[in-house]
């Protein structure tokens, strides 16, 4: 199957490009980027064609696209790809507004193409194992959840609301929300958030703390802060603690690492050996397209996660909890 990539604006683009080059039954056919120089550079790096116009790439015989544009551009590119009958794998968050997300879902449905959201954390071996433990019933009924998705401050367009849809809350809410929905089958009902710009001189918030009511009388918190300093051994991480009636499960998604102390580096480092989640994600998407199977992470999944982030912004404005149904 031939696959193209649209935009290298997002830092994850490189990982997906490498994955496309590594999957046996995929031909990575080319790159289009609204930033022509960036597109040319990436095409050269991954040894693929550089398309100077999007229409040209969409008119070619590729069957699917991977979109790594700014969040705000996801909708435009997804709709165009769907109209050209290309399957879509789009970086998270699905979009920056509910209207955009719905439009993307509609377009893909109408043109009968697949739409998958890139939530690679679902594919991490540690998360797969955790889900198995949850389903084994060893934890009993889940009472509460504590999650974190901290990171370093990404800078660039990530801090510009018109391109990213927000700051740390928009960037780091959706992964853990998706993991909780997937692992526990719970839905989010009400969101409270404290967030602020406290660390960096940037236009968006860099710290976020969400408290959430879920179905099943379960509550959860999520720390979305971009608060890992340059000297931290790694970029950040994802953790999740589940409190059950008969057990407690503590997960560190990137917890498979060893310490590295190199005199050439200015800090201690963590070398991860936890598996290549980006590769597994892209391969799973490609397999769904080739075998015409439903994708594992749908546009609706992306929309549900986006709703939580948007409710968090509303809560931070009024300093009280906000019901998801009220922002739909």
């Amino acid at each position: 199957m031939k696959v193209g990539m649209i935009s290298f604006a997002h830092v994850h683009a490189g990982a997906y490009a490498s994955a496309l080059n590594g999957i046996p039954h995929v031909e990575f056919a080319g790159i289009y980027d609204e930033d022509e120089a960036r597109g040319a550079e990436a095409a050269e790096k991954y040894g693929v064609a550089h398309f100077k116009s999007l229409d040209e790439m969409l008119a070619s015989d590729i069957e699917a696209v991977v979109i790594c544009s700014t969040n705000a551009d996801h909708c435009h590119y997804t709709v165009k790809a769907a109209e050209a009958k290309k399957h879509v794998l789009v970086e998270k968050p699905i979009a920056t507004t509910i209207e955009d997300a719905k439009q993307m879902i509609e377009a893909c449905k109408k043109h009968n193409v697949k739409l998958q959201i890139a939530f690679p954390v679902r594919y991490m071996p540690a998360m797969v194992e955790a889900k198995r433990i949850v389903q084994s019933g060893q934890l009993g009924r889940i009472l509460a959840i504590k999650g974190t998705n901290n990171g370093s401050m990404p800078g660039g367009w990530f801090v510009e609301k018109d391109k990213s849809g927000g700051g740390a809350v928009m960037d780091h809410t959706v992964h853990v929300v998706d993991i909780i929905r997937w692992m526990l089958g719970l839905e989010f009902e009400e969101i409270y958030a404290e967030y602020d710009r406290l660390i960096y001189d940037i236009p968006s918030e860099d710290c976020g703390m969400l408290t959430m009511e879920l179905t099943g009388n379960v509550f959860a918190t999520l720390d979305t802060s971009w608060n890992r300093p340059k000297s931290y051994p790694t970029w950040g991480g994802v953790t999740l603690t589940l409190i059950g009636t008969s057990g407690v499960l503590e997960m560190d998604a990137f917890g498979q690492y060893y310490n590295v102390y190199r005199d050439e580096a200015t800090k201690a480092e963590w070398a991860n050996f936890g598996g290549n989640m980006d590769y597994i994600l892209v391969k799973d998407f490609v397999d769904a397209c080739i075998n015409d199977k439903p994708v594992k992470i749908t546009g609706e999944d992306g929309l549900r996660a986006l709703e939580v982030a948007l409710a968090a912004y509303e809560s931070g404005r009024i300093h009280q909890p906000v019901k998801i149904e009220d922002i739909r």
């Binding site: 509460a144 960096y200 860099d206 000297s231 009280q320």
Partner: protein, 330 residues
């Protein structure tokens, strides 16, 4: 007989026996009397320390006693503290100061009126890792504090006298009893709290598994996430992480203890687990030593009634938020 202040101890449970140990090594204080409703407990402390066993009222009424140390369950703090103050005694009272703000106000007023000193047992301010981190922050090593996370607990609901910890009206549960330690520490470090939002298993299907997550927004701007757990996840442990404009510090007692001991026991341990460690001196001893020194005219750090009151306000606001589902402004 040792020279120095004479102390009478009321309540000889988990905390009372810890305090009794402390007075053995504090040079300028002597534990002279112990009261506990359970005779064996009073006896155990008496035979170790030489204190005489008496009723609480006898101890408070004894003119030769200078200091009353109140280690009874929380809902009884007010009665004993007020009586002790009225009898002209200085008072050390375990945290939380009281079960309600009204009780705490009465305690403050009684001590002010009698002109006696009141100290509240916010012992975390005397733990070496917390003191060290406090100075690290105050010395501007990580810049302005932005986001803090703390963890405390990981053991099953403590069983104590009359199962009082399980009685919400008596103990205030996990939030008032235990993570008030973190509220107090954070308030010491970051100043006043502006807003509180909290969730707990309390009032859902509690079943002796209490778990609470509290978010504090400070006037300084900082955001703190405080986790408390009376659910077994490997036994008592504490954690903190503070991220600032110039760096980050994190601590996990499970990873940094210089000594690791596991003893298999069939019966489980009764009482609340009191932290132990490879210390120069137990923080509980340091805490009481400071109070005794102040009473003795020397220098010392005391968490007084006003401080205890402010930290109590945060805990009660968290309980209100848990009950109402709304954010509470302080």
């Amino acid at each position: 007989m040792k020279p120095g202040l004479k102390v009478g101890l009321i309540g000889g449970g988990a905390m009372g026996s810890t305090h009794a140990e402390a007075y053995r090594v504090i040079e300028n204080a002597e534990l002279v009397a112990i009261a506990d409703l359970i005779p064996e407990r009073a006896q155990a402390i008496a035979s170790k320390t030489g204190a005489t066993i008496r009723s609480a009222n006898e101890i408070i009424g004894d003119p030769s006693i200078d200091v009353i140390d109140v280690c009874v369950p929380t809902f009884l703090h007010r009665d004993f503290v007020v009586k002790a103050a009225e009898a002209g005694k200085h008072v050390f009272c375990e945290k939380p100061m009281a079960r309600s703000l009204k009780e705490a106000e009465e305690m403050k007023a009684a001590c002010d009126k009698a002109g006696v000193k009141l100290a509240i047992g916010h012992v975390v301010r005397f733990f070496p890792e917390y003191i060290s981190a406090y100075h690290k922050v105050k010395n501007d090593q990580i810049g302005d504090v932005a986001v803090v996370r703390t963890t405390r607990g990981g053991f099953a609901l403590p069983t104590a006298w009359n199962d009082w910890y399980a009685n919400y009206e008596w103990s205030g549960g996990l939030v008032l009893d235990m993570i008030i330690h973190d509220f107090d520490y954070l308030r010491w470090l970051l100043g006043p709290v502006e807003r509180v939002f909290a969730k707990s298993t309390l009032g859902r299907d509690y079943n002796r598994l209490e778990y609470a997550l509290v978010t504090l927004k400070f006037k300084s701007g900082a955001i703190a996430h405080v986790e408390g757990s009376w659910v077994n996840s490997g036994g008592f442990h504490t954690r903190f992480e503070m991220a600032g404009t110039k760096g980050l510090i994190d601590y996990d007692s499970r990873q940094t203890s210089p000594i690791k001991l596991t003893v298999n026991r069939r019966d489980g341990t009764p009482g609340v687990p009191v932290p132990t460690g490879a210390w120069e001196e137990s923080p509980y001893t340091t805490e009481l030593r400071n109070f005794i020194n102040v009473l003795d005219g020397k220098e010392g750090i005391v968490v007084d009634g006003n401080e205890g009151y402010e930290s109590l306000r945060i805990a009660l606001a968290a309980l209100e938020s848990i009950e109402t589902g709304k954010a509470v402004l302080l």
